[in-house]
Symmetry: C2
Subunit: 211 residues, 2 copies
């Protein structure tokens, strides 16, 4: 399933008109700035147009978890989270985000907006894509050891490359937060994986030898 843009099949001119109709707002954020925190009270959906961001949460021990990596066409928002889950989205590069009120997408367009249905369909695809990603995340997190978490995440990253190698999309520190494990324990396990001949690493370039 390829990832589609929310505007797939709608012309530039029509997009502009629709954005007005939806009262959509396009905002830009510099690297490291906070895009949203849990203080939002309107049910907004955010759609990454360009750039990358991390969805993060800190628990009461101060441990950070990276809930999700966001890239172009990723959707996020309070609509998708239960209240009280203290989550924020932090730009990891300069980025553009489109905010639309969820109700505008869900409800039948009163102004008879021409391409409303196309947009709804595109939205359906984006949400499906998000579900795929969340399922992957659940699959990785439900592995019972650090070793298995690493292997299944690495396998996922390598799966699109016949050479079985890939560039880690973030730092090892962030990887630990993404897998929800202690960083030093993870580093130790990566060393073990290398010694046991499962992987080879060169900085952030990782190659799977066997699985």
């Amino acid at each position: 399933m390829e990832v589609k843009s929310i505007f797939e099949g709608i012309s530039e001119a029509d997009i502009e008109k629709m954005l007005k109709c939806f009262e959509a707002r396009k905002l830009t954020f510099k690297k490291d700035r906070t895009i949203v925190t849990n203080i939002i009270n309107v049910k907004l959906i955010g759609i990454m147009l360009s750039g990358t961001a991390n969805m993060e949460r800190y628990d009461y021990n101060g441990n950070r978890s990276i809930i999700e990596k966001l890239s172009p066409n990723s959707v996020f928002g309070e609509v998708f989270s239960r209240l009280g889950s203290d989550i924020s989205v932090i730009a990891t590069s300069d980025c553009e985000v489109l905010f639309i009120e969820y109700e505008h997408i869900i409800k039948k367009c009163k102004k008879g907006c021409l391409y409303h249905n196309i947009l709804t369909n595109n939205m359906l695809k984006l949400l499906s894509q998000k579900i795929v990603e969340l399922n992957e995340r659940v699959e990785i997190l439900s592995k019972r050891s650090i070793r298995d978490k690493l292997l299944s995440y690495f396998e996922l990253l390598a799966s699109s490359n016949p050479k079985r190698s890939f560039l880690l999309p973030f730092t090892y520190t962030d990887l630990a937060d993404y897998l929800s494990v202690d960083r030093s324990a993870m580093m130790r396990e990566i060393k073990n994986l290398k010694e046991d001949g499962f992987i080879q690493t060169n900085g952030k370039k990782i190659t799977i030898i066997r699985y």
Copy 2:
């Protein structure tokens, strides 16, 4: 956000017509039967109409993980999973499941099916709901200790009840598989939680004392 039926806002008679147009199939399953395994090659979406089921996976060590508990209006399907993830859906009670080809929902209805747009909108709500549930699951699984996993899951179950008590929706054995932890270690931790005055239990009835 309340959970909507996929047929919300469509009359009984129209539903019948649409099901034909979509080539949808309604199947019934007895308790403990397998609803789907990964052998499916068509991109079908399953929608639970009645009954309950578990989405499960066994890893190479024979450990079972309960990926997800399915109840009426839950959606599931290969479209939402990456290939090769060896997942099956097992009925935990007698149930009815509606299967629709994903493409039929996504694509513009050629026959100009009257309520297609309503159904697409309903689908959007179901997928949003699913994303909420998956995010909850990620939140729980990303807790670093069995104690925190238990507490955050219990908190979720108790959140709708002012008395802060709830009935565990499955056996303790299944709970361990759902949290992806060893059962005996989990039982030990539940005992600790009781001794430390966090919870009280009486069979499957659990009350949160403090959090």
